[in-house]
């Protein structure tokens, strides 16, 4: 697992994708930092993380997940991985954690906004950290879904589009029926972004993540028989 994790994280920065992902994230962060805090004289970073999760993840997650398995399949390097004495579970987890680590790096950088706020007042570090953890949980759920779509196809664009659609649908669907808000990842982040630790929502996000990691493992294992 660790070998795959290390290599995956490294290859984000060997191609422009890692830099673009972090850059894009910070751009969205900065824009919302102005809109949600500076402009309204707020000292709370919750809505910054909420807005970034809503608009930032939409672009960044498909960008980093689309290549995970699709690229390996297209280039045939999948053959190297699957004939190595590593378990499929280890490979999937290694790739998943590398993508999570990329988001975590951005989150660490985003502490800059907290530091900036300390010049103007006394923002609460605990609520900020809770919002960051919540943000990471939403990102993990979105990554697990993106990874799953990447394992289904050898076309990265297809994977990216499915992921974007999945992340964008909850914006509109609740207008049709409130049932759909249940599948919305971002809705599960609402409480945590304001600093509340909500067990139901943490469990909800984590189980969503675990489910799609398992789906990915199953797809990879079944493909062996179908190939």
């Amino acid at each position: 697992m660790f070998a795959v994790f290390k290599k995956e994280l490294k290859s984000y920065f060997l191609s422009p994708i890692g830099y673009i992902a972090i850059g894009l994230f910070l751009l969205v962060f900065s824009v919302f930092f102005y809109i949600t805090t500076i402009e309204v004289f707020a000292l709370d970073l919750g809505s910054l993380y909420y807005a970034t999760a809503m608009y930032g993840l939409l672009f960044v997650v498909p960008l980093i997940t689309m290549r995970m398995f699709a690229e390996e399949r297209k280039n045939g390097t999948e053959q190297l991985l699957l004939t190595s004495p590593r378990s499929i579970t280890g490979i999937v987890l290694g790739k998943f954690l590398a993508a999570v680590a990329l988001i975590a790096i951005t989150l660490v950088i985003s502490l800059i906004y907290f530091v900036i706020l300390t010049f103007f007042g006394d923002p609460n570090i605990v609520t900020t950290l809770v919002a960051m953890v919540g943000f990471l949980l939403v990102a993990m759920a979105a990554i697990s879904f993106g990874m799953f779509t990447s394992s289904l196809t050898e076309n990265q664009i297809v994977s990216a589009i499915i992921t974007v659609v999945f992340l964008i649908l909850p914006w509109f669907l609740p207008n049709i029926s409130t049932i759909f808000s249940e599948i919305s990842l971002i809705d599960k982040f609402a409480k945590m972004s304001s600093g509340l630790i909500s067990i139901t929502e943490i469990v909800g996000l984590l189980s969503f993540t675990v489910m799609f990691i398992l789906f990915t493992i199953i797809v990879m294992q079944r493909r062996k028989a179908l190939k």
């Binding site: 290390k6 191609s15 045939g76 053959q79 190297l80 004939t83 190595s84 062996k224 190939k227």
Partner: protein, 343 residues
């Protein structure tokens, strides 16, 4: 030791590989030979655990691949046909990654990577990005990936495709060296390559094994006639009547009329008759000067083509039989119906 029993792979109705049975002993170099689409790569992919078989067992050094895949994969180094590589990595980074994937211990890793770089002749390009390498070097990087960690079994799918002649000889001698303390399986459709490197040849056609033997035996088995290539200077054109003077000649054909006035003939006789001695005795008497005389050898090429054609004609016969039986049955049914109608 690798044991393959009743190995079958089906894609829907299409049978890619059917009931393969063979054994490969430790330290053997075995060649898989067959035309394109014969099932060579499919078989190799199953042995390496990349794809699952529909039926049958693969046992590598006592471990069944379907039950202990990790144990089996640890003992195998595989170079796939398309030589897939991570083009963003440098040669050294790629080999290090493969070493990590294959559980090469941290303290041995550096030494092992250096050994492989040297063995495959990659020392000079070790810090280059793989995407900037030429095809021949990429092939070597892929081979290095298979060799790292010193696995007992090395499986190479068409290792010399796309290389220039010098590289081919290099890779071949490398494989021969590997055979001293590894079991090597390689696939190829270049027959001369297989006869040069391998101790055993498995010929596959349309997913079935049609022969397992040493290259020499295969050549002998399929040799039908004795051929002699003869170059002579023959100003009076006495060669015309030579088959009257020497017994046992089945056929003489003029192959080439050389510019220097010599002519090359092909003399064919029965399998067990060697005409060389007689030719040496008789031709000078007929005022024919021999410039060159050599035995034409049956090559593995001939063996291969013959075996595949035999297999084809056998299948055709079977198909004919089947269709004949079908026709007969149909006719019978028709007859019965007609008779029934009459009654």
């Amino acid at each position: 030791m690798i044991e393959v029993k009743d190995l079958t792979k089906k894609y829907g109705d299409f049978v890619a590989v059917q009931d393969l049975n063979f054994k490969i002993e430790d330290g053997e170099i075995v060649g898989f030979l067959g035309p394109n689409g014969a099932g060579k790569s499919t078989t190799m992919n199953m042995i390496t655990g990349y794809i699952e078989s529909t039926k049958g067992d693969i046992i590598v050094n006592g471990y069944d691949i379907s039950k202990k895949p990790k144990k089996v994969k640890r003992q195998i180094g595989y170079m796939p046909e398309s030589t897939p590589l991570y083009s963003d990595l440098t040669v050294k980074e790629f080999i290090r990654y493969m070493a990590e994937l294959k559980f090469v211990k941290r303290k041995d890793r550096k030494q092992e990577i250096e050994r492989i770089l040297e063995q495959t002749g990659l020392v000079d390009v070790q810090n280059k990005l793989i995407k900037n390498l030429s095809r021949g070097y990429k092939q070597r990087v892929s081979l290095a990936g298979a060799l790292i960690g010193n696995p007992e079994v090395i499986i190479l799918d068409e290792p010399t495709v796309g290389l220039d002649p010098k590289q081919i000889t290099e890779i071949r001698s490398l494989i021969k060296n590997l055979g001293k303390n590894h079991t090597v399986i390689l696939s190829s459709h270049i027959l001369s390559e297989v006869s040069q490197i391998c101790e055993k040849v498995i010929i596959i056609n349309k997913g079935k094994i049609i022969a397992i033997d040493t290259p020499e035996n295969l050549e002998n088995k399929t040799k039908g006639k004795n051929t002699i290539i003869l170059t002579v200077e023959d100003n009076n054109n006495n060669m015309k009547n030579i088959n009257e003077k020497i017994e046992g000649i089945q056929e003489i054909t003029l192959e080439k009329d050389n510019e220097d006035g010599t002519k090359q003939y092909k003399v064919i006789s029965d399998k067990d008759i060697d005409l060389r001695k007689k030719l040496f005795e008789v031709l000078p008497k007929e005022e024919i000067t021999i410039f060159e005389l050599k035995q034409g050898e049956a090559t593995l090429e001939d063996a291969f083509i013959k075996l595949i054609e035999d297999d084809k004609s056998q299948q055709e016969d079977e198909n004919k039989k089947k269709s004949k039986e079908k026709d007969e049955k149909k006719n019978k049914v028709k007859k019965d119906k007609q008779e029934g109608g009459k009654k």
